[in-house]
């Protein structure tokens, strides 16, 4: 029997907005609204899109001894990132690794002074929480009474400022707590679209009201998971379970940038996380294969699972597409695949689509120019 799908606090609002709901990671989520995936995608790049990301896991990690450095160092035993050096009020991206150096999940973590706030993928949340609970020095508290919204797009800042003036002063990857009409909001200036924008954690009791206040602005449209996927793909951002998983290392996923010098060979806090030998050796020597961008010729999308070849005929597959779709802002198909790191951008390869090989060009990621407020 299928497990019952969970609903976010915005379910009724999604229905009211005409959303088509689909199962996603155990949740019933809006995949698109009447505007359609293409329209929602372009609206987000032109104005501002509102996303319900309440399915994602929000987790508080608090040091048992009251010393935030203890929590930072504990998190560093699971995440190859600089947690200790993260200033208060700032957020970073990282991954949980396994003993083989593969990726268990990716996440955002924010230093909130006496504790850390983590945001993890919905499908991995239970596993991540159990993983975090193996840390003896910290208390791990899943946040169950809050939803999460993302407001993304070039007008996001001025629109959010009409409700929360302090939001306008934030820089990319700032994290702070603000008051909205007597309610505590947790803001970060970040997102998953390549646009400027925010993620906003709100108590469930006022989630719908806050979403409605944003939607009342004529330049804000609700955006579903369909456009969320095409937006992040154009922005060259990996999606867990597709572009990375337990069999893909950070270097192969092109996420080596999230591992700073301090955690690498020769650094002050080298290694000390699961699979560190594999992960760090590969970062030092360079991964043989890594996640690359692909621009297929013509208009046919090259989707997940399509095999990539060196030539127009014969040969063994070099790899498979891990994410691929039509990029509405690019105006053509875009894809990503884990392929030979030594091939230069501009190299022509071939994708086998319905028995025919179509030329695809290796392209730098992202496919669009991000517009973060640094």
């Amino acid at each position: 029997m299928a497990e019952e799908l969970r609903r976010t606090g915005l379910y009724d609002l999604h229905i009211e907005q005409g959303a088509r709901m689909v199962p996603f990671a155990g949740w019933e989520m809006p995949v698109q609204y009447p505007m359609g995936v293409m329209g929602e995608h372009l609206h987000t790049r032109a104005k501002a899109g509102l996303f319900d990301v309440s399915h994602m896991g929000q987790v508080l990690v608090t040091p048992k001894n009251g010393n935030p450095e203890t929590a930072a160092l504990a998190l560093e035993t699971l995440i190859p990132a600089d947690v200790l050096g993260l200033p208060q009020g700032r957020q970073r991206y990282g991954v949980f690794t396994n003993d083989q150096g593969g990726i268990l999940d990716d996440l955002m973590f924010a230093n909130r002074g006496d504790h850390f706030l983590l945001v993890v993928n919905a499908a991995c949340a239970d596993q991540d929480i159990a993983h975090l609970q193996t840390l003896e020095a910290v208390n791990v508290t899943p946040v169950t009474d809050r939803g999460l919204l993302a407001l993304q797009g070039p007008l996001a800042a001025e629109i959010l400022a009409t409700l929360i003036p302090a939001a306008a002063e934030m820089r990319f990857m700032d994290s702070q707590i603000d008051d909205w009409d007597g309610t505590e909001l947790w803001l970060s200036r970040s997102g998953y679209t390549g646009e400027d924008g925010y993620e906003i954690s709100i108590p469930n009791a006022r989630l719908t009201e806050f979403a409605q206040a944003l939607l009342a602005h004529p330049d804000v449209a609700p955006i579903g998971l369909g456009a969320r996927d095409s937006l992040r793909l154009e922005a060259g951002m990996p999606l867990y379970g597709h572009d990375m998983d337990t069999g893909v290392t950070p270097a192969q996923a092109a996420l080596g940038w999230s591992i700073p010098k301090s955690r690498r060979i020769g650094g002050a806090r080298v290694g000390g996380f699961p699979g560190s030998d594999t992960v760090l050796t590969e970062l030092t020597n360079g991964a043989a294969k890594t996640r690359r961008g692909l621009r297929p010729e013509g208009r046919a999308p090259i989707r997940e699972g399509v095999e990539i070849f060196e030539g127009e005929t014969g040969g063994a597959a070099l790899g498979k597409v891990c994410s691929g779709s039509f990029g509405p802002s690019v105006g053509g198909p875009v894809a990503m695949a884990i392929l030979d790191a030594s091939l230069p951008d501009g190299t022509t390869l071939w994708a086998e689509l319905r028995g025919k090989r179509i030329p695809v060009t290796l392209a730098a990621l992202p496919f669009i120019t991000p517009s973060y407020k640094r």
């Binding site: 995949v31 293409m38 995608h41 369909g226 208009r299 999308p301 039509f326 319905r354």
Partner: protein
């Protein structure tokens, strides 16, 4: 008068040919169409054979030949403006087929029956 298949195609008799497109319901379900691959003219097809690939931003789907016959024409203008399928699905025909059995179209649903099907 249009006839309809259970695969959400509309069929229109035109002389001894049948013109085939997809219904507004199907186009809504597909979402924004970004690519269409049409069959070759002159191809002989079986009923139920997948002969058109239609890609939306979200997914790829197939359109099947409603009857056995020969493809006599394809709407190649759709390759350049696939979104016509969304904006005017009744005008955006995909192909014309000359059925092996001239009476083949009679067995398909009329509009009332199709509307019952899609609820």
């Amino acid at each position: 008068m249009l006839k309809y298949t259970e695969d959400h195609e509309w069929l229109r008799a035109e002389g001894d040919e049948i013109v085939v497109g997809i219904t507004a319901h199907a186009s809504e379900q597909l979402g924004d169409v970004v690519f269409i691959e049409l069959p070759e003219e002159g191809r002989e097809v079986e009923a139920g054979e997948e002969i058109v690939v239609i890609e939306s931003v979200k997914a790829a789907s197939d359109i099947t030949a409603p009857v056995a016959g020969v493809i006599t024409a394809v709407n190649s203008a759709l390759a350049d403006s696939p979104t016509d399928v969304n904006s005017d699905p009744l005008a955006a025909w995909f192909f014309k087929i000359k059925p092996a059995d001239a009476a083949a179209i009679d067995s398909f649903m009329d509009e009332a029956a199709y509307n019952d099907l899609i609820g």
